[in-house]
Amino acid sequence: MCSMIPHPYKIDRVIKETHDTFTLELKSCNGNGNFEFKAGQFNMLYVFGVGEVPISISGDPNEIDTLVHTTRAVGTVTKEIAKLKKGNIIGVRGPFGTSWPVVEAKGNDVIIIAGGIGLAPLRPAIRQIISQRKSYGKVVLLYGTRTPEDILLRRELERLRSRLDIDIDVTVDRATREWTGNVGVVTSLLSSTPFDPINTTVMICGPEIMMRYTISELEKRGLNHDNIFVSMERNMKCGVGFCGHCQYGTEFICKDGPVFSFTRIKDLFGKREL
């Protein structure tokens, strides 16, 4: 695939997740419908005449006939994407970037910690792990978000919970009166999650502040930086390492990331205005 030219995809379904977040299910317009990707990778999505934006792929890597993206309408392009309907065309360039260590984590316990919209880029990893459940030890998903109304992929979370071989815990920063679940920061869920720091892989995705205090808690529990993986975000224009926008120290988020082992970026992480 020529890396600078978007391929047209047709919107097959739009699912409203929360007041500002939605999922698009896309099918290729031209011929070969399969889209192969690795969990953690992203595409540049193009709205005709408006612009492009990098969005993580949020579908199941085993279901390659449909391309799925979950995104939040916060900027010019995503707000335009939010207006699109079934049948509209959207341009896709990708997949780009590095992936979650789903294969490398085999044999280990896995803790997946998601904050807010960060659940979307982790969902392909969750799906892939489930599809080979026997290859992993304990699997835990900890998810923190703003309010109960902001919980993404609710049905999926409920389905996952009904499997008896995964622990799922959800918390919100702010409760509504109907909410009977956890209230507090996502790291508070860690206190009820026993794990052996040697044989555990942790994958974290969410706002940078959330990743920062989560890593701090994990360090206190004896987890090695080699076992911690994060997904970073920066301004992107080309997605292929030419435009220079996504640079983060020596790293290009578009090709050296977005998924990084924390060891690789620990000297960069938390440096202000880097």
Partner: protein, 158 residues
């Protein structure tokens, strides 16, 4: 060794206290169980106890006239709950309701207060430990307040 002592000895709150102090604390402690829905304490009640949660989950709530009770935080295994026993007027500021079956150790705060007055060294040790609890709780609450999952820039409302 008494089973209460066994449990308390390893908890960060009590760990590394001198054997005498540990005995003092054990002397003020008792096992307690709360069924789901039962209140551990209610706002404005006398705060004479505080709790170390062994297993289970409790919700700290505030009651609002328009919306009823709203949960501001949930606490689980290993958490230390309650410090109003230490601060005049020694009254609870929130409601606390067991969400799940919760087994806890209840400590007689009033009794401990008295013992700390007599033995400042014990008092200081407890203060250090409680400060650590406060610090962690405050940090977490500030992060909650930050509203980091919002797509809005922190703004002044007009």
């Amino acid at each position: 060794m008494d089973s209460l002592e066994r449990i308390l000895k390893d908890h960060p709150f009590v760990k590394n206290l001198s054997p005498d102090h540990i005995q003092l604390i054990v002397g003020c402690a008792k096992n307690i169980v709360f069924e789901p829905g039962r209140f551990l304490f209610k706002e404005d009640e006398d705060a004479s106890e505080f709790y170390i949660i062994r297993t289970g989950k409790v919700a700290l709530e505030i009651y609002t006239p328009e919306y009823g009770p709203i949960t501001i935080q949930t606490l689980g295994n290993g958490e230390v709950l309650g410090w109003s026993w230490l601060v005049p007027p020694y009254e609870w500021r929130f409601d606390c309701r067991a969400v799940e079956l919760t087994r806890a150790i209840a400590l007689d705060g009033k009794c401990l207060r008295g013992k700390c007055e007599q033995e400042p060294k014990l008092g200081y040790e407890l203060m250090k430990r409680l400060s650590s609890v406060f610090e962690g709780r405050l940090y977490a609450m500030r992060l909650q307040l930050l509203d980091i999952y919002s797509s809005q820039e922190p703004k002044q409302s007009k």
